[in-house]
């Protein structure tokens, strides 16, 4: 059994909470005491139906305002897979939350109301999904029961959305007509839509192939922590020196020739160690400890790659940035802390090339700042070389966060598009 992480975007109006509630309920991930609490609250408020959004809207402020503010993580499992849902609010003022949820997602579900068709917010959600390079996108055309399960309406929406998606980087796009309320095509195939020959949503989630979404080609091992046992009792490990980290790309094997960055020196992997014994290979997302044949000066923030396949060693970066801070704005000359893989440095914004309208994709080249939830292309200069790949090639070596040096808050997510 493996794990699929998926993000859902939308509002209560789209039936998102109903859909999640149904997936959780039908997979028995909602428990009786949780359901009772939700039923009680729905009754107390005079709601006619059991408001399943109460299951996910966990904060007092959210329940008071009847909206989802933050990313909520929910869990369910079928015999085939464990699922982690990052349930994100759909409104434009919560773009940063959707970006957060999408950053680790293997798949995103965008809900469309079959009556309303492709709206501005559907385009925005699709754009953010593609910006964050979520490998699989499902367009769930919901409320099919309210359009008489019309194939024609479904096809219209499919055509309109496909035309729009061709402008984006969407590798795998699937359309599923559903009714979350009635359960059509959610867990099992609907008898109300015999014209639909594809899988139910759950069947798709259970079977979509994600193992090859990780980058298994470019070896990237950011050194996270140096392990040197200090205790005298460990005679066998007296001279032990291992480099611990989580594999960010490629497949490593003992005997492989590797290059250490920033030194550029080469050595071979002597052993790939774990608590449970040495392993024959390591690949994402494994956390392992490497030992090398030669004694190199290696520390946290360095990176191990292959001599013939190295990342860019860059101090000048171009990146798409989503600004996440209230109040302070990103402007040229802003100085921030950048955290990229296991390396932390300082960065200065050299240039803001444009601000992107996330609804129309229009580029405003006159923009002088990025405010909360705004996305734009920037050039950064970094005080130390970073070992980077294009975000499109590797989300882990292509992504970074920016931290405000005054407040210590995380103020931006960045996706590298070009490095020098």
């Amino acid at each position: 059994m493996d794990i699929l992480r998926f993000a859902t975007a939308g509002s209560v109006d789209d039936g998102k909470s109903t859909l999640i509630g149904r997936l959780l309920f039908d997979s028995k991930a909602i428990f009786e005491d949780q359901l009772e609490a939700v039923e009680r609250t729905s009754r107390d408020r005079g709601t006619e139906y059991t408001d399943l959004s109460l299951l996910t809207d966990g904060l007092r402020a959210e329940r008071e305002q009847g909206i989802t503010i933050d990313v909520a993580y929910r869990y369910f499992a079928t015999p085939r897979r464990k699922f982690i849902i990052a349930d994100t609010p759909g409104h434009i003022q919560y773009t940063r939350n959707m970006v957060t949820g999408a950053s680790t997602a293997d798949l995103a579900i965008i809900l469309i109301d079959a009556r309303k068709g492709v709206l501005e917010q559907s385009r925005r959600h699709a754009f953010l999904t593609s910006l964050l390079r979520v490998p699989h996108l499902v367009l769930a055309v919901n409320k099919m029961d309210l359009v008489d399960y019309s194939q024609e309406r479904f096809e219209e929406i499919r055509e309109e959305f496909t035309a729009f998606a061709s402008k984006l980087n969407v590798a795998d796009l699937t359309f599923i007509p559903i009714s979350a309320l009635n359960g059509d095509n959610v867990v099992s195939r609907s008898e109300n839509m015999p014209w639909y020959l594809g899988s139910s949503l759950l069947h798709h989630l259970e079977n979509v192939h994600i193992a090859s979404d990780r980058n298994l080609v470019d070896v990237r091992f950011p050194v996270q922590y140096v392990i040197r046992p200090q205790r005298a009792t460990d005679h066998a490990f007296h001279d032990y020196r291992g480099y611990a980290g989580q594999v960010a790309g490629g497949v490593l094997k003992p005997g492989d020739e590797v290059v250490h960055l920033p030194s550029g020196l080469t050595t071979r992997i002597a052993s790939i160690d774990t608590f449970d014994g040495p392993v024959e290979e390591a690949f994402p997302p494994m956390s392992v400890t490497l030992r090398f044949e030669d004694d190199l000066d290696i520390s946290r923030g360095d990176l191990i790659a292959r001599p013939n396949n190295q990342p860019q060693v860059a101090q000048e970066l171009d990146a798409m940035v989503c600004w996440m801070a209230d109040g302070v704005k990103l402007t040229p000359r802003s100085k921030l802390t950048i955290k990229h893989t296991t390396r932390t440095a300082r960065a200065m914004v050299r240039d803001l090339h444009y601000r992107l309208d996330v609804n129309t994709l229009h580029r405003d080249e006159e923009a002088t700042a990025l405010g909360l939830n705004e996305i734009g292309r920037v050039s950064l200069r970094v005080t130390q070389p970073l070992f980077v790949d294009d975000y499109a090639r590797n989300r882990l070596t292509g992504g970074f966060i920016l931290v405000d040096e005054a407040t210590n808050g995380t103020v931006a997510a960045g996706m590298i598009i070009d490095a020098r």
Partner: protein
Amino acid sequence: MLQRDYTTSQLDVLEAEAIHIMREVAAEFERPCLLFSGGKDSIVMLRIAEKAFWPAAIPFPLMHVDTGHNFDEVIDFRDRRAQELGARLIVASVQDSIDAGRVVEETGRRASRNRLQTTTLLDAIEEHEFDAVFGGARRDEEKARAKERVFSFRDDFGQWDPKNQRPELWNLYNSRIRKGEHIRVFPLSNWTELDVWDYIRREGIEIPSIYFAHTRKVFERDGMLLPDSDVVQRGEDEPLFEAVVRYRTVGDMTCTGAVQSTAATVEEIIEEIAATRITERGATRADDRASEAAMEDRKREGYF
């Protein structure tokens, strides 16, 4: 080109993520500590810590906030496990906080030291100048926890502000704090109760005996089975009876209920949990029943 399918099992993914989080903390903080109660989640967390730094010792101390109302079996287990690992165990005592006048003991039948723990915990964090504190909380436990970050920022009053949390992207965690502030770190955020048990089974990890079915004198209150003990005040209308029970969670005797169960092995526990229709906190924790936002309120104050 690839000859094999690089699928990774859910436990391996969760373990790798938790190890990454632990190493990140060890690398970026000066004085971390790991909250170890002897409960199953903290036992799993401790195993992850062993794995993350092997063959080196765990590079931070363990700490337990002891209410004085814990089960003997669990305290024995706690001490033995810490000794086996050669780890330093700090015990912060709620009794000491009461004696020092930092908190006032609740009175009455429902008196519990559960809420008092927060003060003891925050005082200990301040005294030892801990800047990162590992906790075993999981997001599937409770809906306020479902929104908490892996690196959860606490101000210098130890408070959590759910509306002002740092966004967390990819596997990048922001460890920046000022002096006096700290980060609560939850490496098991993405684990479910069943994952924890599956992991205990896979790893063959020892757990305290009270997790398994045993005969115990109990009484019923609010649909929960509370143990016969000096520290639990029982009314005359709450008769004792003997039952075969086990604990799904291990907390204070005053607010942790047992469940009727005959599960005597980890396999049987997993079978039982897979079939159950009640959450672990709903079944066994009186502390969460106070109000719909009980957990959020306690967390804001600095609770685990």
